[in-house]
């Protein structure tokens, strides 16, 4: 009986050392496999989609500014142009902030938002950009505007 207890205790001790070895070996093996499976190209997939979206939005804001669609603050037309121009994979919102010059300072005198304004952007990987444009009263600058866009993959 005594002999048997002693044998069991000795065996358990050896087993423990073996398990620890095996455990460490397995961790190293998994790390090694993980390293092999990791593909650095995977991360770049969305980068190109982001650049593409930013270029399309910048193109459109430039053209809308040139054609005075922005200056006229024709929000329906802006919304229509954005919807038809941007690829289907993107969702967007634009905020146009109006500034008026008072003596030498600019005061914010209005804000309009269009697009998908209901989306919570805190968790989204958004692409941002802006365009500054002016409206004229005759030959005088009337107001200053900043159109900021947020674009994200649906």
């Amino acid at each position: 009986m005594e002999k048997s207890q002693s044998y069991t205790s000795k065996y358990t001790g050896k087993g423990f050392v073996f398990s620890l070895d095996a455990f460490l070996a397995l961790i190293i093996a998994f790390l090694f496999i993980g390293l092999i499976v990791y593909n650095p190209f995977e991360e770049n997939k969305n980068v190109i989609a982001r650049i593409e979206g930013q270029r399309q939005a910048n193109d459109l804001l430039d053209l809308m500014d040139r054609k005075e669609i922005l200056g006229d603050l024709d929000l329906d037309r802006i919304e229509q142009e954005m919807d038809s121009a941007l690829s289907e994979q993107y969702d967007w919102t634009i905020t146009i902030t109006e500034y008026t010059e008072e003596s030498t300072l600019f005061s914010k005198t209005g804000t309009s938002s269009i697009g998908n304004t209901a989306e919570d952007l805190s968790e989204k990987d958004v692409i941002k950009g802006n365009r500054i444009f002016l409206s004229f009263d005759g030959k005088e600058i009337d107001k200053y505007y900043v159109a900021e866009y947020w674009l994200w993959l649906k």
Partner: protein, 164 residues
């Protein structure tokens, strides 16, 4: 004798595990090499399509009045005089240019391309390799970019695709 057996068993397991890891390594490494090659081609195509489209819609080309130059003097095609506003004479010259020469002047050697301008969903200009038109739809590797331009006074969509 018992100790010797334990060592042999440990060694046996170690060799089996090492062998399995080695098989996974070789297999996965082959996959990664192929996958990376695919990714590199895809990335190169996206870079090429993006650069060519940028040149088309944002630059006058090189030389600036390339539309009046001999084909051999043209280095780069640009379709605008003002950024994003298509110049009719440059576009006409590009449309009439020999396809193979235009490939070189667009800087997309090795790829075929499809170019179009659409207004409200209708294609108003189109250029591609007419010698092999079916290749575009059959091709597995395509990189596409869309840019917004002003053409004939209207906001239009310029599509530029390259395929391989």
């Amino acid at each position: 004798m018992a100790k010797g057996q334990a060592v042999s068993l440990d060694l046996f397991f170690a060799i089996v595990i090492l062998f399995l890891v080695f098989i996974v390594f070789v297999d996965q490494n082959n996959l990664n090499i192929n996958y990376s090659a695919e990714e590199i081609i895809e990335k190169d195509m996206k870079r090429a399509v993006s650069t060519a489209a940028n040149n088309l819609v944002l630059t006058q080309g090189t030389p600036k009045n390339w539309e009046f130059s001999l084909d051999s003097q043209i280095l780069l095609i640009g379709l605008v005089n003002t950024r994003r506003v298509i110049a009719e004479n440059k576009l006409d010259e590009f449309m009439n240019m020999n396809y193979d020469i235009s490939v070189k002047r667009l800087g997309i050697h090795g790829y075929d391309y499809y170019f179009s301008i659409e207004q409200k969903g209708i294609i108003v200009k189109e250029k591609y390799n007419t010698a092999n038109p079916a290749y575009l739809s059959d091709s597995e590797k395509i990189a596409v970019t869309k840019r917004m331009v002003e053409y004939n006074g209207e906001i239009s969509e310029l599509y530029f695709k390259i395929y391989w």
